[in-house]
């Protein structure tokens, strides 16, 4: 679901970045955030709520609301909407408050 052409903006081709999501290899592009890459792949559910396990996605996309928290490289509560995508990142849906190791 990426924009091919736009009347005002240019979207130059960027380098593909491969990363892991829930055990599967997926990709995004250089310069984007984890949440953006996932959204482009059609993945909208980023976590499950703590008590009722309801699916949760992002809301504000600029780091204010913390709706986009996921576990990245084993660390919980990462605000994926403002975290730049890096090669080989391991991204998982968060299902609890997060455990500090």
């Amino acid at each position: 679901m990426r924009i091919e052409r736009h009347p005002i903006l240019d979207f130059p081709k960027k380098q593909k970045i491969f990363f892991m999501f829930e055990g599967n290899e997926v990709y995004g592009f250089e310069g984007e955030t984890i949440a953006s890459a996932l959204h482009a792949l059609g993945i909208k559910t980023l976590s499950y709520s703590i008590k009722k396990k309801r699916p949760r996605g992002f809301y504000c996309a600029i780091g204010n609301c913390a709706s986009c928290n996921m576990v990245v490289n084993g660390i919980a509560n990462i605000r994926t909407c403002i975290t730049p995508l890096e090669p080989n990142m391991i991204v998982e849906r968060q299902k609890n408050k997060g455990v500090l190791k």
Binding site: R5, H6, P7, I8
Partner: protein, 160 residues
């Protein structure tokens, strides 16, 4: 009505049209019906044909005599609220702002659309102008039957 739907009434539209006699030459129609702080139309006009004044909330007024229908104001208005029109026998030829892809191509027939978004006629694309000064707002010259002089406002692709 404008406040509830975003669609101006026919009276509001007519209030911005000069006498039909004046439209033998192309003239700008300034469809700015609200006091908002804005004046690029006034500052862009090379003929000083648009008047707003020191209080930039004032709605713009056109000096019909001075207006040459050049269309610079059409692509300068941030609200895309200005069109230029000229009556050419049984056709009304408009210059409208257009900011979508694909751009219309000269000679194509597109849908002619009114202010409610309804298709009202066929519109012939006469010309399209895109230059750096317009900053991604194309100026499309398009002709429709003159009966739609007060209805036509924009175009829509036929394969949408």
């Amino acid at each position: 009505m404008l406040n509830q739907t975003g669609i101006p009434t026919l009276d509001q539209v007519l209030s911005r049209f000069p006498d039909k006699k004046a439209l033998v030459r192309p003239k700008a129609i300034l469809e700015c019906y609200e006091d908002i702080p804005c004046n690029p139309c006034e500052t862009s006009c090379p003929f000083d044909a648009i008047q707003i004044g020191s209080n930039i909330n004032t709605q713009p007024k056109l000096d019909v005599e001075a207006c040459t229908g050049c269309g610079i104001c059409v692509t300068s208005c941030p609200g895309l609220a200005i069109i230029v029109v000229q009556i050419k026998n049984n056709l009304a030829q408009f210059k409208i702002p257009y900011e979508f892809l694909p751009y219309p191509v000269k000679g194509e027939i597109w849908h002619g659309v009114n202010r409610s978004g309804g298709v009202i006629c066929d519109a012939t694309i006469d010309h399209i102008l895109i230059n750096k000064k317009q900053d991604h707002t194309a100026l499309v010259t398009v002709s429709v039957p003159v009966i739609h002089l007060h209805d036509f406002v924009t175009i829509r692709g036929k394969n949408e």
